[in-house]
Symmetry: D2
Amino acid sequence: MTVPERPLRWGMVGGGAGSTIGDSHRRAARYDDRFELVAGVFATDATRSRAFAGDLLIAGDRRYGTWEEMAEREAKRDDGIEAVTICTPNDSHHAIASAFLDHGIDVICDKPLTTRTDDALDLVRRQRDTGLVFAVTYNYTGYVMVRHARDLLASGELGAVRLVQVEFASGWAATLLEAEGHRQASWRTDPTSAGASSVVADLGTHAQHLAEFVTGLRVQTVAAELSTLVRGREVDDNAHVMLRFPGDVRGLLWVTMAAPGQLHGLRLRVFAEHGGLEWAQEWPNELIVRPLEGPHRSIARGSPEMLPAAARASRMWAGHPEGFFGAFGTIYDDAWSAIVARHQGSDPGVAAPDLPTVDDGARGVLFVDTVVRSHRRDGGWVDVPADVDGVTPLEDP
Amino acid sequence: MTVPERPLRWGMVGGGAGSTIGDSHRRAARYDDRFELVAGVFATDATRSRAFAGDLLIAGDRRYGTWEEMAEREAKRDDGIEAVTICTPNDSHHAIASAFLDHGIDVICDKPLTTRTDDALDLVRRQRDTGLVFAVTYNYTGYVMVRHARDLLASGELGAVRLVQVEFASGWAATLLEAEGHRQASWRTDPTSAGASSVVADLGTHAQHLAEFVTGLRVQTVAAELSTLVRGREVDDNAHVMLRFPGDVRGLLWVTMAAPGQLHGLRLRVFAEHGGLEWAQEWPNELIVRPLEGPHRSIARGSPEMLPAAARASRMWAGHPEGFFGAFGTIYDDAWSAIVARHQGSDPGVAAPDLPTVDDGARGVLFVDTVVRSHRRDGGWVDVPADVDGVTPLEDP
Amino acid sequence: MTVPERPLRWGMVGGGAGSTIGDSHRRAARYDDRFELVAGVFATDATRSRAFAGDLLIAGDRRYGTWEEMAEREAKRDDGIEAVTICTPNDSHHAIASAFLDHGIDVICDKPLTTRTDDALDLVRRQRDTGLVFAVTYNYTGYVMVRHARDLLASGELGAVRLVQVEFASGWAATLLEAEGHRQASWRTDPTSAGASSVVADLGTHAQHLAEFVTGLRVQTVAAELSTLVRGREVDDNAHVMLRFPGDVRGLLWVTMAAPGQLHGLRLRVFAEHGGLEWAQEWPNELIVRPLEGPHRSIARGSPEMLPAAARASRMWAGHPEGFFGAFGTIYDDAWSAIVARHQGSDPGVAAPDLPTVDDGARGVLFVDTVVRSHRRDGGWVDVPADVDGVTPLEDP
Amino acid sequence: MTVPERPLRWGMVGGGAGSTIGDSHRRAARYDDRFELVAGVFATDATRSRAFAGDLLIAGDRRYGTWEEMAEREAKRDDGIEAVTICTPNDSHHAIASAFLDHGIDVICDKPLTTRTDDALDLVRRQRDTGLVFAVTYNYTGYVMVRHARDLLASGELGAVRLVQVEFASGWAATLLEAEGHRQASWRTDPTSAGASSVVADLGTHAQHLAEFVTGLRVQTVAAELSTLVRGREVDDNAHVMLRFPGDVRGLLWVTMAAPGQLHGLRLRVFAEHGGLEWAQEWPNELIVRPLEGPHRSIARGSPEMLPAAARASRMWAGHPEGFFGAFGTIYDDAWSAIVARHQGSDPGVAAPDLPTVDDGARGVLFVDTVVRSHRRDGGWVDVPADVDGVTPLEDP
């Protein structure tokens, strides 16, 4: 792959004033100086959108009022954007992503991909039809030690995986924030905008994707219970999910946004025949490996032990911590590799094998769908559809 | 309560040469110098039993060959034992405990109380009939910070409990030890001697009892899956159990003896309205409290923050760690208080309110029974019997 | 302060191909999108320098072969650089910085400021004469929790400081790397280029600056021993320094680059009347506070407890770790604030009170000088000059 | 060695009502059931002494009013004590120990051995003359992982030691407790009873002994500064000591009793050619080993990695923590081995090679003496006497 002479021209939909996630996308995009922000729409109100675009030093004629306008006009420019990031509320992803795909623009989209299963499946089909790059920002798999863990398991050194315990136990919504006008809490706890399960869509898909990414196994069947820890809340905010993977591998997934006192809480433990490993997002620069025999080990990001994919994603010596933006930046790097490969006629999937794609995004939506089905059957075991074909969307309850 | 002029005269059944658990009972019993070992039977082979009793400096005429002989002869002596500890294989507890109760001797028994539900219920009835002290050594609730956690929740400072996550993820049997002649592994993995679920009986009851002790809540309903992580093993060695408590409180219990690389792995996390707490047996001298607001706190055993019951169970300044034997010793202390109270005509339950009793032991057996029932129904929700009356014993599969 | 319409135009001297520190400067500079790299000289060899400038997408006419040329030509351009970063070997800082100051360009310079005391003092005088911004990248004081610690102590909540224990115990040069041709090790262990004490200059000044920054106290007197842990090495690689601060405050500073197995190892502990605090660079997102009474606390970066300066330097929610580049980026942010203030006629010191300046840099050089004097007097107590006036430079040994 | 048929008959001087250290000795002595308490004097007031002896269930005729009486009468009994523990204030150790040695009774004595150097040297001579066992309870070297660390270094696996950093930074006297009538604080902060340096005698000797025990190296030369952190205190409560060991090995020792917020704070770090190790008393069940290459390791007490001496001192499976009393108990076990060996005509030093003896105790006193000399010379380097012969006692200041 030839490294292009300039960063990719890049635009954003969403992530305006006060949006931490929007800010994170911008930091991630320039972490390795691969993307240059040249266009955007940042608010539903056109005036506010343009004002914020000005704050970001975007040229006046590329400060848009609507995403429809942005998609259409950027597609016509010679120097139009080569990629767009979508970080709007989840129920709008489908329409916006469709529009940019229709205009031939590669897409980077927040997760969960959509709030409805049929929308997710439709985006998969559109991506297949267009051949465009469609990245979904499961950003935690950008962490160096996550990639090291994946490759350590893949190396066979620890033998076959037997058990997967994953949790994303956050406390950000441990009180009835929605009653106090908290913006993010409000839409995430509104049954109509949050989708079938807010907490599984928002946090559970990260946990499911992380577990599958690291183990290389896919959840086959689930038995789930959704519950509401904060009294007065109208949606579930806690999920317990028992998992079965192929080959008699078992697992447990716990996600909540309402565990008082927790900060972030994403943690993965995998047990294989010859040892276990543990990684937690709050201390991301180490991977604990506990061999069946011999002392527990702490493998440091940046150390000579790094396997190749981890070494590539590490930017600094061991002992000098990297954080959230670095992991997020790695997803953007992967997206950049995929897009540049496509421009140069190569296979994006080969150029960026670790990039989470629309298929991963759709799988997350199917996982949410399946968890909800199991919950509605009082925790009975339900299969996760193996692929997107022939899936019957979840009905409203 | 008047403190008696001498330690209680005490005997043991089980825990002979090479038995770590037997050694632990003896260390626990003398930790606070409350019990003096004066009689015992330590092996099924009378010669080996008497030899080991000699090693323990027990007088010649009290080195017994069988527990039947010991119960009968000790009961007749003026200076006969005032308490007996039973730490034999689980399926023998019922017969031995019954014999000592019949002879009017207070009992301290390992958990699980029995391998069969009807045996457990029978022991409850016998204890009720005799009024003797019957302690069950759920030793982890003897840890100081466990008692502090219990009283911190009971104080209401953290509000009502919402969620309970407990795990006992050990790695002691992470390979097919039973194929190598490992003694403990052999009887624990033999379907006939291990009971309905070896791992739930052995480790799960500790986790269930710890969770109930700390929260003051009792598991009401479970949905469970048992599985076998070590290929070739004939019993389950991993259990995932979803829990419902009264008042819409939810929980998750995970126990395994087969997680490679794990050492002990007992850990409890409780989330209440105004904060969460976490305790792990491997670092028992601190309790992590994470308030809804403000920084996370590490409360040290022995510090001035100790609530009364914890302060009583702490024997050393903060910063000077206490360990496993100290916690175990606290259970013995409680048993001592109960026995002395009985001798003096007081209520043992008032004198030793934290002592785990035969009721707790039976509840553990019912918990195992219920988990197995749920598993046999493919994870369907099953109620744990609220008390021992009217329970139908589990049938063989 | 009015936020300017564009990032500052910025150039670099040093930090070329393969330089991790050069890469760190570039990441730091764009972390908050405050600087745009438009010119540079990156190697002593002009061809290699220009090639690397091309890799960085710098325009052809601003890919310089020497820093003399760069200073002169950039100063003449209407769109010339507004700041230059110097990250060349330490003994070249003085000449390069002088040249850019002479051309009216604000300077950002690596530490140690110089290898010779008189050079450091000369730079202080030149900065005073020109009134330009002269930042020195003591990057560790850019960490959020370092600033929180400083303000927590300044708030008086913990009372007066009594004791300061600081260490920077790295293992990067724990073998005789210089014998294997390791580039950085070679110049750092060459007595002629490393200055009077390599390890004190390189790591010790970070530790001294961190301790002084957090406590607001300045080291008054030192008693030191330099030693060489790696056999065969020609310079010291370990330093033990006893510290006295005004007001009968005591301290200890330990720095090494040769502690086998250590990764980074910068750690600060401060004890004040009512409690202690601890911070370590490898886990930078928390500050441990141990009050005289009550439980130990872990204060999380991004939490509501953040004091104002810390809150300003934090860019992400608690639980989502920030790392080395973020801290470094904060130094660049401060430099940006100072430079913009100067452009707008305000006082840079008011606009960026936390920015380490040439005075801090010179103080570090004086600290090195004083430590070496003490060592040469077999550890006798020697005063650190209170300011740069009247200082007699250290003679060669 | 033949294991005797009964525990050793044992008495105590000191450690009466409310004495935590007295209680610790008793728990340690019965931890492995090696000693039976049969005589004692527990207070200067004979009535209180006898009352407390009664609480301990000591027979009436062996509840003594003075240690002189106890030594004399026990020596005459056929069933007299075979060992005595002395845990009285430090300045009384010499007289009491001398008396028991004179009566042919083996001694176990708290550290520091004495408050005066000549007293320490006298005890060494008396032990040599009598050939009795004289143990000094440097209890921290009883920890399993301390012994493992020692043997790991001795094995040569990590190469030659280069650097030793030891600290015992406690906060127990971080306020002016002596002004509030705190008993222990009062005598420890009284210049007449505390000896030349209270904090070095009390905590510093532990740190010095631990460092020497683990490395097998002896401190050769020190440069020290004593200081007082708590304003109004009449003795020093903080010590910074630079250390030189033979073979160009360097070290640093920091001890304080006045670091606010600290609990215990004993921690040792040793760096050898091929890696470093770290142990802290507050988490005693693990030893961190950081090899020059490869991941950091946590070695667990009780794991199969245990080297022989550590394995012998470990009483429980890995993951089941042992604590302070266990380590202390190991010192008692060693004392028991030495005493039994002497009874059986064997060499106590061979039977109990790890037992700290009167020589170790005297060495500690010499260390205190040397630190104080250095401090009085404003931190000049002073040699620690290599042995007890020809030492000139420290004069009063």
